[in-house]
Assembly symmetry: C2
């Protein structure tokens, strides 16, 4: 029987990061990553295979990242975990471990409507062959229907349109507008209109009743009777934690069906940790279970799990939720709670919006109107969330917002933030949107005092 110090099951964002972190914190321990995939897809890069990148081969996570850290990779299927015996059984035989990290990820959500099993209905698996097949089928397709208008939905739709202007791409969304879990309505509507202007049909309030076709997908019937022709369908409707191995080993699951973990990312199994899409998450705001599944959340959890394997060094403060998307030159990003979510979660809050160019003067090249919305708790002035709409810079501006949220900064802290500015890179120091939004929040809070 093979023996090692640390076994990580799963080689995507969480698994790779847990392994790297373990090696950094415990350089004298041997680390094995066991995964099924010969080549690992960069999860967030998958939509870009179809248009921008051109093939799944261009979206591979390099194994060198692990090998350079002295991590061993085993391409095997794990069949079972034996927590009492401290070993796993894999297709290549058993491996005894001292510490085990479960990073088994998630599986795509399935729509429970008649016909979802028909040929031409694709869930998004993080698998090279599956994606190569999908790519080939997309090349021949004319009518493509994407179910779900979240990030995955709009990114897939836009990339498929880039494959050829003959393609008619339609997104079906059950909610009144797209991206409503990430942004407040004004942001969602702007993104939705942008996607539409790029030639994509979006049906909101669209409830799928049936996937039609004789063995092969031919169309989608909505509950209101509308039928949309489809050669090919893609489901972008979220993910379900992959917990089969953990469940079979008697490891406790949590309220959303994922593997239950404490703040140190320890499971109920002794010396067994979990991180990433397979693990339960708790919100930074109020501490309830969080349904978010993001690669950046997975890697944070992996950095906690990996550092804690031989003694608790880190604890999780709860999931803030920070992510972004881009369609053409329009980027949108979000951190923490939207105004809608804050109210739904029981916060008394105010919201402020500031918009301006992210260059100074505004005629400097490369700039874009940049809008920042901040959501602030009414009694304390604590920042609860932020949304950014702009160009590429939005992807990093949101990380400033995230730092402010995590350190529980007040609007006052942000108003006196010492930012750097440059004509070719940022907004002016007078107009810097984040700081001005904080000032407006302070003014709004002051106006409400008796």
């Amino acid at each position: 029987m093979r023996k090692t110090d640390i076994v990580v099951v799963g080689g995507s964002a969480a698994g790779a990061t847990a392994a790297i972190t373990a090696r950094r914190h415990y350089p004298d321990k041997e680390v094995y990553v066991i995964r099924q995939e010969k080549q690992v897809m960069i999860p967030c890069g998958i939509p870009y295979i179809f248009g921008t990148l051109g093939s799944p081969a261009k979206n591979i996570m390099p194994d060198a990242m692990l090998e350079n850290e002295g991590i061993k990779i085993a391409i095997e299927e794990v069949k079972a975990i034996d927590p009492a015996g401290k070993k796993i059984s894999a297709s290549g035989g058993e491996i005894a471990y001292d510490r085990l990290v479960l990073a088994t990820g998630s599986l795509p959500g399935r729509l429970k409507v008649p016909g979802f099993e028909k040929d031409g209905a694709f869930a998004i698996l993080k698998d090279v062959q599956h994606l190569e097949t999908l790519q080939k089928r997309l090349q021949g397709a004319v009518n493509v229907v994407v179910i779900g208008c979240g990030f995955i939905g709009i990114e897939f739709a836009d990339e498929i349109r880039k494959m050829g202007s003959d393609k008619k791409v339609t997104i079906l969304e059950i909610a009144p507008y797209c991206l409503s879990l990430a942004y407040d309505e004004e942001f969602c509507v702007e993104m939705q209109e942008t996607v539409r202007k790029r030639g994509i049909d979006i049906h909101t309030n669209a409830k799928v009743a049936e996937i039609q076709g004789n063995g092969k997908v031919e169309g989608v019937r909505l509950q209101d009777g509308t039928v949309i022709p489809a050669d090919l369908m893609i489901f972008g409707i979220g993910a379900v934690s992959n917990v089969a191995l953990a469940r079979a080993a008697g490891i406790k699951l949590g309220p959303t069906g994922a593997i239950a973990v404490d703040r140190a990312m320890r499971t109920s199994g002794e010396n067994i940790f979990a991180c990433g899409d397979c693990a339960e998450k708790v919100s930074f705001f109020g501490g309830r279970p969080s349904p978010l599944r993001l690669a950046s959340i997975a890697t944070l959890e992996a950095r906690i799990a990996g550092a804690n394997l031989y003694g608790i060094r880190r604890e999780h403060d709860g999931t803030v939720g920070v992510w972004s998307t881009a369609i053409g030159s329009l980027a949108m990003a979000t951190a923490g709670l939207t105004e809608t979510a804050a109210r739904q979660n029981g916060y008394n809050c105010i919201a402020v919006v500031v918009e301006g160019l992210n260059r100074h003067p505004g005629s400097m090249p490369g700039g874009a109107p940049t809008k920042i919305k901040l959501v602030v708790e009414k009694n304390t002035g604590v920042l609860l969330g932020g949304q950014v709409r702009g160009n590429e810079s939005a992807g990093e501006i949101i990380n400033i917002v995230s730092a402010c949220i995590q350190k529980r900064m007040l609007a006052e802290d942000i108003a006196t933030f010492q930012m750097g500015t440059h004509p070719a890179l940022t907004a002016s120091p007078i107009a810097y949107q984040l700081v001005n939004a904080a000032e407006l929040a302070i003014k709004a809070l002051a106006a409400q005092r008796p």
Copy 2:
């Protein structure tokens, strides 16, 4: 005699921001901005007048920014301040004030060598007419010499080259390499080489002995005897606080010759505040006087002064120093102490560097190799400084670093930072440079423990 609540002397970054802040915090107070300039130049935009923008007219700070806040603008020269009488005397007569903010800015530093008064030797004044003259003279010039290879020096040199490839532009720098106050050597050398590759001559260790010419600039003689021909010379050698009014009014000056202020930005004059280039600064690190003069520092001070006019609401934690520059597609940014400065200032520190692409996969368009260097105090793990080299995103990444510095985050806080990532906007969540640099710092600190 005119009477008002708040008078702000000076209408550049500090004055405008102080006025806006005062109106936000004290909406029932009347605010007057008194300035000499009919039109205000955006200070950091001045180099871009010559190449990118094409004229000073394209670099005007819009007065609407003040007018929209109900601020009154008076284009007058202030002759004297009477702190006891609570009034100023200006070219349009006296104005009685309740609170006074001095935002009189700085004047360009002068080189004390023979010949600096010759025709064709230009200091950079923030004045439309002066800059229009300079622009005209530059159009006719072939040999242009820029003295000083800081930000202003390289930005001017690069923009002048954009005016015509017939121009021979030379920068003279007294230090062994350019930008050495902002970056550690490796970053400076990279920027220096980039500037050279764009056709600009840089002489380092170059000490100017004499500006030659018969009434009109003809050349520069260095102390080693080299003579560089010059039709036109530009001084980019720092700024001197403009304190004439304050000094004449008996307001105390500080150790660098600027107006002395406390942490609330109050001067020694009752009800008189100061902010921006004319005010003394104290370093965030160790509390000694800081020589930094930046528009972003000026606006922070203005936000403190403006909020404190009728009761102290904010105090200054000391100047962190955050700024950036860009030459072509190469951007560099800095926050806090460089490794060199940290050691010079008495800190025991370690430094770590992480480099990687700021897209994932790396073949996604718009990306650039992004390098982050962090400087961390050895005993506590507190972040002292960061430097970023990359593309446009560097301008906002440095602001994440700045937030971390201001909240006195430890490497450990940054290693568990919850950042958002996106293939088209940022590095991957596994490779995110800031977080990985923090992990390397933790590893380095651990390796040093007995």
